[in-house]
């Protein structure tokens, strides 16, 4: 994974993990890599890796069972909510980009619909 060194690294890895949870690559109740393994896997400092789990736990996305490791939450509703949060965030970025190009909300929706159709035809 290539990092943007100006953005907190824990945030970048946490986002990547959230994506894995949302897509089911890390299934509900599934075991997550240990802190050290996560550090080695992403090539990041172990303290940063620990911070990521703290953050994900705080958000209720995973839980650490003493002596067992960290597991993805079994609360599928929470995962569903995460998906919505992430989609919203992506949407925000999308809309603010278009606004930056001077497009109105209605124009943006129209453009989006056309693009979705184009994608479907491909």
């Amino acid at each position: 994974m290539k990092f943007d060194p100006m953005v907190p690294i824990w945030l970048q890895v946490a986002t990547a993990l959230k994506q894995e949870i949302v897509t089911g690559y890390l299934p509900p109740g599934g075991k997550m890599p240990g802190g050290r393994d996560l550090a080695l896997q992403y090539g990041i400092n172990p303290n940063t890796a620990a911070r990521i789990y703290q953050e994900l736990e705080r958000e209720g996305l995973c839980a650490t069972r003493r002596g067992m490791g960290t597991y993805v939450t079994e609360d599928t509703e929470r995962i569903q909510r995460l998906r919505t949060e992430m989609a919203r965030a992506a949407m925000d970025r999308f809309l603010s980009d278009l606004r930056g190009l001077g497009l109105s909300g209605a124009e943006a929706v129209q453009l989006l619909e056309t693009e979705v159709q184009n994608h479907a035809e491909e």
Binding site: P5, V7, P8, R36, A39, L40, G43, I44, N45
Partner: protein, 234 residues
């Protein structure tokens, strides 16, 4: 774990390290930064008990560093230093003879990672391979402190990932790692703290994630800010 108290080192009229008080804790990977000649190597050599300070004290776990502390402090110098008759195996045996914490099996693993052979002659190694050998020898020790002076020097882009992985494997809560490199970007993700030194003086010690969160700055950005564009290393 490693601490310098108002330490000074002079070479004749030149002051290489100028009243540096610095305390490094276990469980962290520190990046020591500064342009060439800013005193990083001199500070490390004093911490490795290879050089005596002109003034001040260098402490390892509360006691002044000495021959004794070398048992627990692994230092890797920038330059290769092997005897010309040595093979990679001989170099390992040498460490095995002198350091109780050296593990031959760990050494073998590291050599595999670094794609080095036991039978290679140290004299004929390319500079990149010699650099890898130094790292393998140093990390094969189960020390409490590892100080690597320019571990990425001479190592090509592809092998740097390997080196970073090997370094990270040693980064446990009980250990202290101190890396110096002018390849600042190579250390962004593996270090969690940075020590900035300029002209022998300590400028600051900062937490890298905090730097990114609070100032939206990378370690390289901070480096540029401190040393100015003229001095930014290649």
């Amino acid at each position: 774990m490693l601490k310098s108290e108002d330490i000074v080192r002079r070479f004749g009229a030149k002051t290489a390290v100028d009243h540096v008080t610095l305390s490094l804790e276990a469980g962290h990977v520190y990046a020591m930064l500064g342009p060439n000649g800013s005193g990083k190597t001199t500070w490390m050599k004093m911490a490795a008990a290879l050089m005596k300070p002109t003034e001040g004290r260098m402490l390892f776990q509360g006691a002044p560093v000495s021959v004794e502390s070398r048992r627990h402090v692994a230092y890797m110098s920038t330059e290769p230093y092997f005897y010309s008759w040595m093979t990679v195996r001989d170099a390992g045996r040498y460490y095995d003879d002198f350091f109780e914490d050296f593990s031959m099996s760990h050494y073998e693993e590291l050599l595999r990672d670094m794609e080095l052979e036991m039978s290679m002659k140290t004299r004929t190694l390319s500079s990149g391979m010699a650099a890898k050998l130094k790292i393998a020898l140093t990390l094969a020790r189960d020390a409490q402190v590892y100080m690597l002076d320019e571990p990425f020097n001479g190592i090509d882009l592809l092998a740097r990932d390997q080196i970073r992985a090997c370094i990270l494997r040693e980064a446990t809560p009980e250990k202290l790692l101190l890396l110096s490199s002018h390849l600042v970007e190579e250390m962004e993700a593996i270090a969690d703290r940075a020590v900035f030194i300029r002209q022998g003086k300590l400028i600051e010690v900062c937490d890298l994630e905090q730097l990114r969160e609070q100032r939206q700055q990378s370690m390289a950005d901070r480096y540029r800010e401190i040393y100015g564009h003229a001095e930014v290393a290649q």
